[in-house]
Structures are given as structure tokens and as C-alpha cells.
């Protein structure tokens, strides 16, 4: 019994122990699991933090690099300014990039427009001559590979700056890379960074320099594009000017010129204008260089009001050209062709002289006749009636001539001011022609000239009878004045298709030369003739032209040549 109780008791104790152990184990497992979770969480958090810090560090480095790149770019931009000198631009980029990484030599090579190669090398650490030669060779190879053509190195412009070269030093180019500089889609230069250490320049380092170089080149390209666009606009303005314009820089080099300068100075087309052509064109007339120097020195425009060059008269103005800061950067010369103005002025002076003469002749006649009349009348008893009548006729004729002249001048003034009024009505044009022929027949008969009219019996038109009569009278009067023999044929031609009625007055007189035909209806021109008796003001034709054109018609003259007669025609519209 006791033993059963003991064993039951032992079992209970064992069970309790086992239960306790189980609980402890379970608690241990839970503990372990919790610890594992905590540790895992810690590790995870640590890893995340490390990753975060790494990303942050990378971002910070990237940011630092970007800031540094921006600083270098800013420095390059500031140094380049508004320069379009590619050599200078490449030089600035090269010297700025050198600060970004270690090197023994940094160089640039530029192929100028004339084919001349410029090579500049800055030696940072002492190297030998062969080292520089290697760099040059590698850059030439690169240049040739890009352009796909051979480069002539004869006459290469070379310069080496920086540290001294030591040929006892056994070094060679172990690492290098080339940076092509492309501005406005054109290779303008090549930069080379070289080191005597092997494996120096990896992609990462070089990429930064490429980025900076490309960004600098892009900025310059944009600047170049803007400046080219502005220059293009300015050139377009200069090209469209009617005056000849040139601009020279301070070295007296021709910078801009427009095509008009060729015409003015008689410079042949086909090749660019040079300063020599300009100076040659002005030879013996103007010392352009001295005048430009004077304009720059005195900082003011110099005007030469009249420079006569062969068949041209020019007004020349030379002025300094300044930049936005007011600095003189060039000089311009404007060649204004005043030939037409001068010719017109001369013609106007001749016309005035002629008008004065034309008015003075009848005035002299009036004065002389008046004096004669007074003298005759003062001798009360012996008045010679016939002489008095002759004198009175002379006064009347002279007064009529003057009145005619003044009327012509008034008509011209009305025509020019657009105040020429017409009294348009339906009239028989044939009747007007016949009337005018009848008026002038006695005058023609004195010179043994016949006036023949060829026209239909009647033709009704809408026109100003007085004014068209005036035109006809003018043409017939001229025909009589300039013909010594033969006849005057007046013809009326009706062209229904063209809806015009054309009246022609053909004479057998002195005719008109080809060059005079164009000037016949000009205000200040008159027919050139040596015969004073035939000379007139020429205003009759100017007035006739005004009258015909006011009707919507045309007037013109034809002549086979001098002494071969002439035909003056005018046409009027049928549906006016």
C-alpha cells in the first residue's frame, strides 16, 4: 500500500517536474523566438539604415559632383563671356577642366579654317619631349579619325607652357583620353588629358569631364546661334539698304558690307569685296583710312557732302560703332548716292533759268513797246497811227505769250497737286480735230505746210472739249514749229477691241533722237535743239500728258530718228 502510494507520489512529482520542464522549454523557445525576431528586426533595421545611409551618401556625393560641375561650368561661362573665338573657348575649357582631376599634361588642338593646326600643351608635372610628341600624335590620330581625312601638320602653331621638360626622365603616356569640343554641330577642337601612370582615367572620371565639356559647348552653341541670328538680322537690314554700307573693325578689316557698295564703287561681282577694293574704288578722292581713324579718334561722325566718283556723286558719312558699354569697337561708312538729286537740282536750276528767260523776253518787249508808245504819244501832233498799232500788237502778243506761259505753269501745278478738273461731256472728236486743224492752217501755210485730217465723219466720245482741244493745239503747234517743209497728217483711229480712240499728229520735221523721246513729257526737259527760234518751255507736252492721263488715256511720241519726222499720239478710252 505504502509502496503504491510512494510510486503514485513519485509519478505525481515526476509529472509536475515534467510539466515544469515543458513550460520552461516552451518559455525558452518563446524567448528564443522573440530574441530571433528582435535580432532579425535589428539586423533588418540596421541593413535598412545602412542602405538608406549609403543611398544618402551616394546622393550627397552626386550632389557634390553636380555642384562642382555647376561651379566649373559657371567658371567656364564667365570666362568665355560673349566670345565666339573658338580657340579662346577651347583654351578656357581646357584650363578649367584641369582642376577636376590629376594629370601630367593637358593639351588642346584646334584646326583653323585655313587648315592651320594649333597645338597648346600645359605641362603640370615634368615629362620629356617624347611625351608631348606622343600626345600630339594621339590627338592628330583622333582628329583624323573623326574627320576621316588626313591633316597637314606643316606650319603647326605649337606652344608648351608649365613645368620644364626633362628628356632624362624615362616616362611615356600610359593613360590618356580625348575630349572633342563640338560647337554648333562642328568639331572646333580636341582636348587631351594625359598621365604617365597606367590605368588612370576610367569611364567614371572621364564622363564628368565629357558632361561638363558638352554642357559648356552647348551653352556656347546657343550663344553662337543667338548671335548668328542677331547678326543675320542686322546683315539683312544692311543688305536691304539702298545706300552702300561697310563696317571695319579696329584693325581696319572689312567686317560687313552690302551689295550696293559694288555698284557704287564699281567693284566686279563674283568674289568677296576686300578693303583693298573699297580703297581702290575711292582712290584719289577720299583717304578712307584717315577719315575712319579721325572718326574713331574724335568719337564723332564725319560727313563728306559731295564726293564725285566717275559718273556718280556720293555723300559719305563715316561714324564710330560702339558696343553697349559705349566702347568703340568698329567704324562704319555709309555711301549715299546723290547723283539723281544732283542731276535733278541741276535740271531745276536750268528750268528756272529758262523760265526767267522766257518771261523776260516778252516783258522786255512790253517795256520797250510801252516806252515807244509813251514817246510817240508825247509828241502830240505827229502821232504815227500805224506805228502805234504795231506797238500795241507787239504788247498784246508779248502779253499773250506771258499769259500762255503762266497758264501752262498753273496747269502743271494743278496736275501735280491733283486738282485738275475736267468737264466731261459727249462731243464729236472729229469736229474738235477739224476745228484745231482749221485754227492752225494759216500758221502752217506760212511755212508751206499742209495739214491733212483722216477721220470718220463723226465720232462721239465723252471728253473735255476745251482741254482735248488744248492738247491737239499743242501737238499741231509743235508739229508746225519743228517742221520746215512737207505736211502734217492728223489721223483718228478707233479700236473697238481695245476700246480706244487714238489721235496721231505726224510731221515731217526735225524728229526726235531716241534718248530724247523718254524726256519729252518731263517737266524740266525740253527738246534739245540748237535753233533758238524753235526753243520752247516744253511745258505744253507736260500739260498735254496731264490732260490725257486725267481722261484715263495715254500719250506718247514716236520718231525714227533725227530729221526723220515724228508722230505724237494720244488715246482716249471709248467707255469713259
Amino acid at each position: 500500500m505504502n509502496s503504491r502510494l510512494g510510486s503514485r507520489c513519485r509519478l505525481r512529482v515526476w509529472l509536475r517536474f515534467y510539466k515544469t520542464k515543458m513550460i520552461v522549454n516552451i518559455l525558452l523557445i518563446i524567448d528564443f523566438l522573440m530574441l530571433a525576431v528582435v535580432v532579425s528586426a535589428y539586423i533588418y533595421a540596421s541593413l535598412r539604415e545602412r542602405k538608406f545611409l549609403r543611398v544618402k551618401a551616394n546622393q550627397s556625393l552626386e550632389l557634390q559632383q553636380k555642384v562642382y560641375q555647376a561651379e566649373v561650368l559657371k567658371e567656364i561661362s564667365e570666362r568665355i563671356g560673349y566670345s565666339l573665338d573658338t580657340n579662346k573657348i577651347v583654351d578656357i575649357i581646357t584650363s578649367s577642366l584641369g582642376n577636376l582631376l590629376d594629370y601630367d599634361a593637358v593639351s588642346y588642338m584646334v584646326l583653323e579654317e585655313g587648315g592651320k593646326v594649333v597645338f597648346k600643351c600645359h605641362v603640370e608635372n615634368t615629362v620629356n619631349h617624347q611625351f608631348i610628341e606622343d600626345i600630339k600624335h594621339k590627338m592628330l590620330m583622333s582628329y583624323e579619325a573623326i574627320l576621316n581625312s588626313k591633316i597637314q601638320t606643316a606650319g603647326m602653331d605649337e606652344s608648351i607652357t608649365g613645368n620644364i621638360l626633362n628628356d632624362n626622365l624615362k616616362v611615356k603616356v600610359e593613360s590618356f583620353f580625348n575630349l572633342p569640343v563640338v560647337i554648333s554641330q562642328k568639331l572646333v577642337g580636341l582636348i587631351n588629358v594625359a598621365s604617365k601612370d597606367r590605368g588612370r582615367y576610367g569611364e567614371e572620371q572621364a564622363s564628368i569631364l565629357y558632361t561638363i565639356t558638352n554642357q559648356a559647348a552647348t551653352a556656347v552653341s546657343k550663344l553662337q546661334s543667338v548671335l548668328q541670328s542677331e547678326k543675320g538680322k542686322l546683315e539683312a537690314v544692311i543688305y536691304s539698304l539702298a545706300d552702300g554700307v561697310i563696317t571695319v573693325d579696329l584693325n581696319y578689316q572689312l567686317v560687313v558690307y552690302n551689295p550696293v557698295i559694288r555698284d557704287i564703287l564699281g567693284i566686279a561681282s563674283g568674289k568677296p569685296v576686300t578693303m583693298y577694293d573699297i580703297v581702290d574704288g575711292l582712290a584719289g578722292k577720299v583717304d578712307l583710312r584717315t577719315k575712319i581713324e579721325q572718326a574713331i579718334a574724335e568719337d564723332k561722325a564725319i560727313s563728306l557732302p559731295e564726293v564725285i566718283l566717275k559718273d556718280k556723286a556720293l555723300e559719305l558719312t563715316i561714324a564710330p560703332v560702339k558696343d553697349s558699354q559705349g566702347e568703340i569697337i568698329a567704324a562704319s561708312a555709309v555711301f549715299h548716292d546723290i547723283t539723281t538729286e544732283k542731276t535733278l537740282d541741276k535740271t531745276r536750276q536750268e528750268f528756272t533759268a529758262m523760265m526767267v528767260h522766257e518771261l523776260r523776253a516778252p516783258l522786255t518787249a512790253v517795256r520797250w513797246s510801252s516806252e515807244s508808245l509813251i514817246k510817240n504819244l508825247s509828241i502830240a501832233s505827229g502821232v504815227d497811227q500805224a506805228k502805234v498799232k504795231d506797238t500795241m500788237v507787239t504788247i498784246e502778243t508779248a502779253s499773250n505769250n506771258m499769259l500762255e506761259l503762266v497758264n501752262d505753269l498753273l496747269d502743271v501745278a494743278k496736275i501735280e497737286s491733283g486738282k485738275f478738273d475736267l468737264n466731261l461731256q459727249q462731243y464729236d472728236i472729229v469736229e474738235v480735230i477739224n476745228d484745231q486743224a482749221k485754227v492752225f492752217r494759216p500758221q502752217a501755210e506760212i511755212k508751206h505746210l499742209a495739214i491733212n485730217v483722216t477721220a470718220p465723219p463723226k465720232y462721239m466720245l465723252k471728253f473735255d472739249r476745251v482741254r482735248i482741244g488744248q492738247v491737239l493745239g499743242n501737238l499741231i503747234s509743235n508739229a508746225i514749229k519743228y517742221s520746215d517743209s512737207g505736211q502734217i497728217d492728223i489721223n483718228l483711229n478707233i479700236n473697238v477691241e481695245e476700246k480706244t480712240a487714238t489721235v496721231s499728229v505726224k510731221d515731217t520735221g526735225i524728229g526726235v533722237s531716241r534718248e530724247d523721246l523718254a524726256d519729252l513729257f518731263s517737266k524740266f526737259k525740253q527738246l534739245k535743239t540748237g535753233d533758238r527760234s524753235r526753243k520752247g518751255t516744253g511745258l505744253g507736252l507736260v500739260v498735254s500728258k496731264g490732260i490725257v492721263e486725267a481722261h484715263g488715256g495715254k500719250i506718247w511720241a514716236e520718231s525714227p530718228g533725227e530729221n526723220l519726222g515724228s508722230t505724237f499720239c494720244f488715246s482716249l478710252p471709248l467707255d469713259k
Binding site: 590620330m141 583622333s142 573623326i146 580625348n178 563640338v182 590605368g199 582615367y201 576610367g202 572621364a206
Partner: protein, 87 residues
């Protein structure tokens, strides 16, 4: 249609030309970034795996990123030599 060998030859020419133009290190580094391309130190293409057209495009793009205009110029002269190639 160009075969694998022709692609390999053109890639070799392109890389070696860029080694002259840009410098060997950078030209090789750029080419070796392109998946499916194995290049020796002298620029010879040892292996092209995958689509060779894509590899050629990848190499061209890498050089374009550095200097677009120059890469285009050198590529154009190579395309004259390999008219059947397209990039």
C-alpha cells in the same frame, strides 16, 4: 542580312576607332558596359551573345552619351563600310 561575324567585325572597328578618338580606357569601359559583349584590351570583339543588332545599338548609344556628334560622325563613316548594317 549581316551575320554574327560581320557584326563582330563592325563592333571591333567601332570600338577600335573610338579608342583612337576618345582614348583606349574610356572607349573600352563604355563598350564593356553593354551586356552580351566581350572585348579584349586591344578592342577586338571576342564574343557577342544575344541579338547582335541590340548589342551594336547599345555600344553606339554608350558612345553617343559621351559625345553624340562625334559618335555619329565616326559611325557614319563606318556605316559606309558596312552598308547592310543599321543602327
Amino acid at each position: 542580312m549581316p551575320d554574327q561575324v560581320e557584326y563582330g567585325q563592325m563592333l571591333t572597328d567601332l570600338i577600335q576607332k573610338q579608342m583612337v578618338v576618345l582614348g583606349p580606357n574610356i572607349a573600352l569601359d563604355k563598350a564593356r558596359k553593354v551586356p552580351g559583349l566581350k572585348v579584349s584590351d586591344d578592342g577586338t570583339v571576342l564574343e557577342v551573345s544575344g541579338d547582335p543588332q541590340m548589342v551594336l545599338k547599345g555600344v553606339a548609344n554608350e558612345y553617343m552619351q559621351l559625345s553624340g556628334q562625334i559618335a555619329q560622325m565616326t559611325l557614319n563613316s563606318l556605316l559606309e563600310k558596312y552598308p547592310q548594317m543599321k543602327v
